[in-house]
């Protein structure tokens, strides 16, 4: 049983993710996209990076690569899938999750720490946190503004599919705390089932205790059940 961390041309958080999983005692394996998912795959991470140079739109090319058909089938069969940053863009482009990530409101690449409020602590990705808890995670993206129309955002909220929203240190969800102009301050959502999730912030960068805070561990620990 292993968590497949899918490498596309231009992925660059793939090894960090395997290392972060290993630190939690979870077996992760780098899987080159052309090689397909190994038969023992019990979880999938679409890691961060700049797959195919962000050509056309971030994630557009990787979302249409053959391995994504395998990822979609695995997701449909209940295999947990987590898209992080470029992986989140790929997940939305592949319609594993609704909406789209596009150019930051600032029109700039932003690399900084943000506060996230846990909106729903009743999913595999968030059950190690408390609802309303404020986490600090890093972001590093130029196209992280979550776009979805108001009706579908309301549906996502009603269905408890928003995992994290950008917030102030005290948990207040404000426009000032929204780093990229995301609709509804949304930073992470689930797909049709809550075993599929995408998020722009990087949990794998705040997992190893010897390099700093570990707020991201809870997200990656969800793979403990599957791996």
């Amino acid at each position: 049983m292993t968590v497949a961390v899918v490498q596309f041309g231009g992925s660059n958080c793939d090894r960090d993710t395997v290392q972060a999983l290993a630190a939690l005692g979870i077996d992760g394996e780098l899987v080159w996209h052309e090689d397909g998912l190994p038969p023992e795959t019990s979880g999938i991470v679409l890691p961060g990076g700049f797959s195919y140079g962000d050509y056309l739109r971030a994630g557009a090319m990787a979302a249409r690569s053959p391995i994504m058909g395998e990822v979609e089938r695995a997701a449909a069969e209940g295999t947990p899938v987590l898209g992080i940053c470029n992986g989140a863009q790929i997940g939305c482009e592949a319609a594993l999750t609704p909406g789209a990530f596009t150019t930051n409101r600032s029109a700039r690449f932003q690399c900084e720490h943000v506060h996230l409020r846990v909106e729903n602590a009743d999913t595999p990705w968030t059950e190690r946190y408390e609802e309303g808890e404020v986490l600090t995670l890093p972001i590093a993206h130029g196209e992280g503004r979550y776009e979805i129309d108001d009706d579908r955002l309301a549906t996502l909220a009603a269905e408890d599919r928003i995992l994290f929203r950008y917030c102030e240190a005290d948990g207040a969800v404000t426009d000032a705390a929204n780093p990229n102009g995301s609709t509804g301050n949304v930073a992470a959502i689930t797909g049709d089932g809550d075993h599929v999730a995408v998020m722009m912030p990087h949990p794998e960068r705040v997992t190893l205790s010897d390099i700093g805070p570990t707020d991201g561990q809870g997200v990656l620990r969800s793979f403990e059940q599957s791996a």
């Binding site: 739109r57 557009a60 482009e93 789209a100 596009t102 150019t103 409101r105 029109a107 102009g181």
Partner: protein
């Protein structure tokens, strides 16, 4: 078969924020130009052989649906000319 060029124009839906267009507009204004608004769009010129104009149009529209546009944020239009 006839040779066509299909031009697919992909633009953000009205109401979707376009920070690059806003930045471009501000740059033009800094250069002294006066303008009310600016919208950007991507165009793709696709050379293809098709049985007729409708066939060329349909195939280019399919390309837009499948890859060139993201229906969540984009509208697109297709124009076909004989090449």
């Amino acid at each position: 078969m006839t040779a066509y060029t299909a031009t697919v124009t992909v633009r953000l839906k009205r109401g979707v924020l376009d920070p690059e267009a806003e930045t471009t507009q501000r740059a033009l204004e800094r250069l002294g130009f006066s303008l009310e608004d600016l919208r950007s769009a991507d165009t793709f010129e696709i050379d293809l052989d098709a049985t007729d104009e409708d066939d060329a149009h349909e195939r280019a529209a399919d390309m837009a649906e499948r890859l060139l546009a993201n229906p969540t944020i984009h509208d697109y239009e297709v124009e076909v000319d004989q090449r």
